[in-house]
């Protein structure tokens, strides 16, 4: 690699160089502007530097656009209902309901819950072909309850998927819960069936209570459903989500699973208030048309409702369908490798060629030289990264959709956070690597340290580490800033594989970014001190 710089690259104006005169005093701002131009010239003219940056970014774009994914979704087939807060939701369950007009209450005892979950991989049931089916197959397998299998009472604004609701339920292994409008979840006691449940409606207010014996009642929660009409649908429901058996083993996190189902047996039913229909209707709400395991036994005194699905926020991945825009950015790490290498050699090249002496002779305020380099390098990587991220998210998302993969919609705010965040991640990493280069001075050590510190933690947390170890790596290393790419929240009330590979990070976006900013700032301070104290 030839590393010859044009003379003005070192910040020398042709005048001062040829005549050796002291340049006329100029404002600090203009000096800084000139320094920045000098740094930009260096960055632009060294063969290989821009090529490395653009090559890394091109690989990132290519990985985002040439996805191997293939699905069978059309927007009509896979679009999720919209919940009361405008978010995308899953609303699939079996509902034995009748209209309730005005205030009233419904009380019931969940006598028992039983269900089916996919057979354990490797067991005989699976070998015999009864194991987990593809997501669109019927649930089958062995008796058992998914942790978030739900049976209980619900009051809902009609039977349209996505309509407002409040529900109290017993679950597979999360005790009694009161949930409403998909994202809200409140824990009751840890009791299991048999359990008495009650929902009372007063205007827009709905109170959920539970009891172990039908006499002593405990209030679980009280929620307000805004705009709830006078007549609502109320009754018993059952649903059971996609079951995932997570093997949080050693080499990454593996998971297997499939659909599950649950049957709730209800007795001691008591109604208060105005229930004009006087008979129960069994309705399968939402869910795929081609898979129906719902069943109703509505003759009493023991009612049975069987269902599969979930009433929860929509998720991508194992527990839901499709992907998030985060997954189009899977190639970011290639660009990250490129900017880390570039950042390190931008500085070490100066030391290697002795150019730094020229640079510092031309601009004796060493801190300013470092600042100019940081601004130029950061600015260039930010812009290039921004263009790449926009291309990947916008076009990559469309490519996925055109190949039948469902891409979850996100708000403009989140989209901006992901795109700008990716650019910021690249820019700050480049500056961090540059600071490392200033301190370590040799490209060998600087590049190695940069890669080991910034890139490897992310790669390892995706491929080698799992569970807690991966989470810690993504909390304390500069790679924490990848949290900026998270586009959907992780919900505790939905069992899913929340791993970095699927776009879920242990820190919130701005928290993760501050970790990187802290690293970069600390490294720049050390670099400034080192540059000032040491001979160049």
């Amino acid at each position: 690699m030839s590393t010859s710089f044009p003379r003005e690259a070192a910040g020398l104006s042709p005048d001062s160089a040829t005549h050796g005169q002291t340049p006329p005093p100029v404002s600090a701002l203009r000096t800084f502007g000139r320094l920045m131009r000098a740094e930009w010239t260096k960055l632009r003219t060294v063969r290989g530097w821009m090529a490395a940056l653009l090559g890394g970014v091109a690989a990132m774009i290519a990985l985002g656009l040439m996805t191997g994914a293939q699905g069978s979704c059309t927007p009509q087939r896979c679009a999720q209902p919209t919940g009361p807060d405008g978010q995308e939701v899953t609303d699939a369950f079996s509902f034995a309901h009748q209209p309730l007009t005005g205030d009233g209450s419904i009380t019931v005892r969940v006598a028992e819950m039983d269900g089916l979950i996919p057979a354990d991989p490797g067991t005989e049931a699976e070998d015999a072909g009864q194991g987990p089916q593809r997501a669109d197959g019927p649930p089958s397998g062995m008796p058992g309850l998914a942790p978030w299998a739900k049976t209980g009472l619900m009051i809902k604004d009609g039977t349209r998927p996505g309509a407002a609701y409040a529900a109290i339920m017993t679950t597979g292994s999360h005790g009694v819960r009161m949930q409403h409008n998909f994202t809200h979840d409140r824990a009751g006691t840890s009791g299991n069936a048999p359990r008495w449940l009650r929902l009372t409606r007063t205007g827009e207010l709905i109170v959920g209570e539970e009891s172990a014996d039908g006499h002593a009642w405990t209030k679980v929660g009280e929620v307000r459903l805004n705009g709830l009409p006078a007549t609502v649908q109320a009754g018993m429901f059952a649903t059971s989500p996609q079951y995932s058996r997570v093997d949080d083993g050693l080499i990454g996190t593996a998971a297997s699973g499939g659909p599950s189902q649950v049957t709730g047996a209800f007795d001691h039913l008591e109604l208060e208030g105005d229930w004009p229909a006087a008979a129960w209707t069994g309705t399968k709400i939402g869910g795929p048309i081609d898979r129906d395991v719902s069943g109703f036994g509505l003759t009493g005194p023991v009612f049975r409702v069987t269902g599969s699905g979930d009433v929860a926020p929509a998720t991508a991945g194992l527990a839901g369908i499709g992907v998030t825009i985060t997954q189009t950015l899977v190639g970011t790490f290639v660009a990250l490798i490129a900017v880390v290498v570039l950042g390190a050699v931008v500085m070490t090249a100066e030391f290697r060629r002795g150019l730094v002496r020229t640079t510092l002779a031309a601009a004796p305020r060493r801190g300013r030289v470092l600042a100019a380099k940081a601004v130029v390098l950061g600015g260039v990587t930010f812009l290039v990264g921004l263009v790449a991220a926009v291309l990947v998210v916008e076009i990559g998302g469309r490519v996925m959709v055109s190949r039948g993969v469902y891409v979850h919609p996100v708000t403009t705010g989140i989209r901006t956070q992901v795109v700008v965040g990716t650019a910021a991640l690249l820019a700050f990493s480049a500056v961090l690597a540059m600071a490392l280069g200033t301190v370590l001075r040799r490209s060998l050590t600087a590049v190695t340290t940069g890669i080991v510190l910034i890139v490897l933690p992310y790669l390892l947390s995706l491929t080698a580490l799992s569970g807690e170890a991966a989470d810690w790596v993504l909390r304390v290393t500069p790679a924490a800033a990848f949290a900026l790419q998270q586009s959907r929240p992780a919900y505790p009330q939905v069992d899913n594989l929340y791993t970095a590979a699927l776009g879920y990070f242990p820190l919130p976006p701005w928290g993760g970014f501050s970790v990187l900013v802290a690293w970069t700032t600390a490294a720049l301070v050390v670099a400034a001190v080192a540059l000032r104290r040491r001979d160049a």
Partner: protein, 246 residues
């Protein structure tokens, strides 16, 4: 020629340190993996003990890149080629020295992990290691071969690219791009296909013990995939070295 390459390797500042880092990183991560592992499967003991290889390989790759990358960076390569006009012979000598050194370093790292596993596994209630089982020997011996071949892949890529920085980026990218993309694609067939061709996923199949029926690629075939990658890189390097100016 061998002697010259060995002298260069020996005297390059930082090399010994990097090798020690590679060994230390491998053993440390293995120890961490053993002490946090929580899995009932029979092959757990072996895979926990060999987790460090996934980290160590990155440093090994960096060493391999620097062995020849530094010559390109400093222009030393021209001196080398003047002294040794038979370029293929020069490359072969480098390959021999790198293989020897990396085999020793990898063996130390893997054996260090093995000793850690021997001492720590019983206390963690994980299946103990036994060197009398063929598949355990395959896992540990294969890991040494794997690390060495990753190093040779690094040498090949560096000669092709002629720049240490670009080569480090490319080798690490090559190692990690397949598993990361595989983890992110929702399509299982594609995931399997990527795991069959990626040097890291395929090569580390050598570490699998126990039930092998579900693997995307069988242990020795997987190591063969890495060997193909390394040979392809070295052949390209040999051809380009012959044709191009240094």
């Amino acid at each position: 020629m061998l002697h010259a390459e060995w002298t260069k390797f020996r005297t390059t500042p930082g090399m010994i340190w990097l090798l020690l880092i590679a060994i230390a990183a491998t053993v440390t991560v293995s120890v961490l993996a053993i002490s946090t592992a929580d899995c009932p499967q029979r092959d757990c003991g072996v895979s926990a003990t060999l987790t460090g290889v996934r980290v160590g390989q990155a440093v090994i790759a960096i060493v391999a890149v620097l062995v020849i990358g530094d010559e390109y960076r400093t222009g030393m390569i021209r001196t080398t080629l003047v002294a040794m006009p038979r370029r293929t012979g020069m490359l072969a000598a480098k390959v021999a020295v790198v293989s020897a050194v990396l085999t020793v370093a990898s063996a130390t790292a893997v054996l260090g992990s093995f000793v850690a596993g021997l001492h720590l596994l019983p206390g963690r209630d994980l299946p103990a290691l036994s060197l009398t089982e063929g598949e355990v020997i395959r896992a540990f011996g294969g890991s040494i071969l794997y690390l060495t071949m990753i190093g040779l892949l690094g040498v090949g890529v560096t000669v092709v690219l002629r720049s240490p920085a670009a080569a480090i980026g490319s080798v690490l990218g090559l190692l990690y791009v397949f598993p990361i993309v595989a983890a992110a694609v929702p399509d299982q067939d594609w995931e399997r296909r990527l795991q069959q061709i990626g040097p890291m996923d395929a090569g580390l199949a050598i570490q699998r013990t126990g039930d092998l029926t579900d693997l995307p690629v069988q242990p020795w075939h997987g190591l063969g995939v890495v060997a193909l990658w390394a040979v392809a890189a070295l052949l390209t390097a040999a051809v380009l070295l012959h044709r191009r100016d240094a």
